[in-house]
Each structure stands twice: as C-alpha cells, then as structure tokens.
Symmetry: C2
Subunit: 235 residues, 2 copies
C-alpha cells in the first residue's frame, strides 16, 4: 500500500486542491510516492474538531507518514465581532492543539507531525470581504490576534517536539504580503499557496520525507530498458 | 472511512495534480466527500501495467467508489518509430483493457469503472517535442492510430458495460483543439485538463456519484448554528 500524508485543518486546508493549491502541489510533488489526503473543514476551530477527532482519524485507518495540522485562523476570530461564535480562547486553543497531537502521536508514534500557524491577516481585505453583513465596520479578525495564536502554536510545537511552519512570520517577511498572499485578507492566493507548499516540503525534508528518500511506486519510465522493457516488471 | 476514487493510467493521469490538472480538480470538486488517489504511471502501456496490476490494486485495499482507466496513448505509439518499444498491438490493447476491468469488477463488483480513450494527437506538436532525438522527422504517434485505439476502448466499454469518455472525439469537436488542449501534441493544457475533468464528472454523475448525492464528511459550516455551534457535534 502506498503511504499517505494527511492535511488536517480548516478552510485553508479544505480548499488546498483548488487551482494551484498547496495540497495539490504536494500531491504532485510526491507523485508516485505518497497519497495526499485532505481533511480540511471550512470554518472549524480546534474546539469543534476535537469533538469529532475520532471520526476524522478512524482507528482502523493505516499509519500516515505525516500529518499537517493547520488550525487557528478561526480560533483567533475576535469574540465580540461577527465571527465571535468561532472564537476559542487562546489557552484553550493551545490545549486543544496539544490534545490533537497527543492523540495522533499515541496512535501513530512514527508519524511526522507538522504544525502550521495561522496566516497573517490583512484587515482591510477582511473588511472588503466579510462573511455576510458587517455593519460594525470592524474586521472580525486582526493580524495582532492571529499573531498571538501563531505564537502559541509555535510554543506547542516546541513543547511537543514537532515541526512547525511559522506562516504568520514567514509571509510578513515579504513586501505587500497583504494582497500578494491573501485574496480576501485570510485565504491564500496562488503565491500564498506556493509559500505554504514550499515551507511544508522543507519541514518534511528535515524530517526525512523527501522525493530523494521516499520509495517510488513501480519502475520509472527512465529506468525501463527500451531493448527489453518487460525486464523491469519481472518479480 | 471516507470513500475514494482511483485515477489509473499513464502520464496524463500521473500529472493530473499539476497546476489545474483534472485530478486535482476532481479532488477539489469532491472535497469533503471523496479521496481522489492517483495511480498514474508515466510511459506505461497496458501490457506493462498488467504485469503489476496486483501491486497497483493490493488485495487488502478497500473498495473504491470508482476507478478511471486511462490507457492507450502509449499503446498507440507506432511500432516502427522511436517510441516503438511502447507500442502494443491493437488487439492486445483491447484484451488488456478487458483483463483490467475484469480484475477490478471481480474484486469490487460495485465499483464504477469509467474508461477514458486516448486523446487525439497533434502530430506537429509531437514533432516539436520529441522525447530525445528524432532524426526520422516523423512523429512517433499519429492521430489516426490514437483514433483506432480510442475506437477499441469504446468497444471494450460497450462489451463490459462500463462508462467511457470518448476524449479523442470530444476534443476534436472544438476548433484549434491541437494547441488549445494539447501542450506538446499529447499531454494536456489547462483547457485540455478542464475537458477531461468535466467529462469524468458527467460520467460519474450518470452513475449516481455526484456532489448532490454523496455524503459530506462532518457538518458543513453553513449547517452550524452560530447560537449553539456545539449542537452540530453531539453524537
């Protein structure tokens, strides 16, 4: 059976197979090596997903090579704004991430876990693209709040000894990150997807999972002898 | 466990998760419903893949909802040209397709099988993009040969009672199909990928597999009550 990498998260994971998405890029990158499976749940925070964790990762499923965990963008919604029902207090967010990692590591000790922090928020972009009406004129997410949750996410990675992509900081290293990487102040543009893809590939590589090390499923065309092609298929 | 659709074929399947690829589009289309798994093997013909069919579809793997079978582009290489070692005689191609379908249907009687014919060939595009040197100045594939194999593929679908996408005919219904759908006379452009995606979605829908009928994994965000979000997660 081919091994698999599971992408676990919210809408930024769910839509990662859209045109040029980071999930599709990962699947293409690990073509012939790994199945990339999406477990993205739009709008979800860590509190909601914890309630159904056993459904997302059924006991009978086989050990994944790696799982990316990409939550926090919804937890970090401000409690007194229109997205307040998605808000999760920052301490609970931290504990929830630890609970998720603990369950995964208990079930699959060898599985590589890569945390991804929430992306930065372009507040102006959020105001232009609210979910429904927003008469308050205030964004439901702020970059400052996302940054606080990102910091906790990094602390969890440190505590649990797993890798982390600090997306919040990484994106803000580039000029004009607000519009370049975020299409509505939160979700990713093609360039934003590219950064996530590259960062995840790099973290996986550091954990020993790369196209250089993973076995290829069946002989590559370049390894098939034109003079005697069937030789490659003798078992 | 979420159900799965397997895409089985040659390079046009293997690269289907590239930017805008038909495989990634299917995964995105069936997001939250189905895992789309790629079993594409660049350069392979039906003779080679038959030798390793049990490795591609291990006995212990669970029943897929559907399998697309997309071979013939390599089988149809002309025997006396530089791609001749990939050539499979047309009668053997037909028998090989039948053998593949027979094995799948024996193992998984409920699985929907969708055959896809080879695409048409833009011979001028092939001459501009040979694999390595081609001093003969003749293309290794012709549209006529691809058409003959496509016809056999359709005959197999009819014989076996499975769906078929007649990609060879469908693409040629459009003006300038040669450059519009094929980037090197054989492999798909973004527009070519879009046609394959749309045709496969339509065939699956006719077989009862559509976003309208397939169950969604976990409550959709739109079904979660902002006044009492946790209600959606009570089991």
């Amino acid at each position: 059976m081919r091994s698999k990498i599971i992408l676990f998260g919210d809408s930024i994971t769910e839509e990662s197979f859209n045109n040029g998405g980071w999930g599709a890029s990962l699947a293409n990158h690990f073509s012939r090596m790994v199945d990339v499976m999406v477990r993205g749940y739009s709008g979800y925070n860590t509190r909601w997903i914890l309630k159904v964790l056993e459904k997302v990762f059924p006991v009978e499923s086989s050990t994944p090579l790696a799982v990316t965990i990409f939550f926090g963008a919804n937890d970090a919604c401000l409690v007194d704004r229109y997205g307040g029902f998605q808000h999760v207090p920052i301490n609970e967010y931290k504990q929830n991430l630890i609970s998720i990692i603990t369950l995964l590591k208990k079930r699959w000790p060898t599985t590589v876990v890569v945390l991804i922090t929430p992306p930065p928020i372009d507040e102006e972009g959020r105001l232009r693209n609210p979910y429904g009406k927003n008469p308050s004129g205030l964004p439901e997410r702020t970059n400052e709040a996302a940054g606080a949750y990102a910091k906790e996410c990094i602390a969890v990675a440190d505590e649990c000894g797993v890798s982390v992509v600090d997306l919040w900081s990484r994106m803000q290293q580039f000029p004009k990150w607000e519009k370049s990487f975020l299409r509505d102040g939160l979700h990713l543009t093609a360039k934003g997807n590219k950064i996530v893809f590259e960062e995840v590939v790099e973290k996986l590589k550091k954990e020993g999972l790369s196209v250089e090390t993973l076995p290829v499923d069946l002989p590559l065309f370049s390894d098939i002898d034109p003079q005697n092609p069937l030789k490659a298929f003798r078992t």
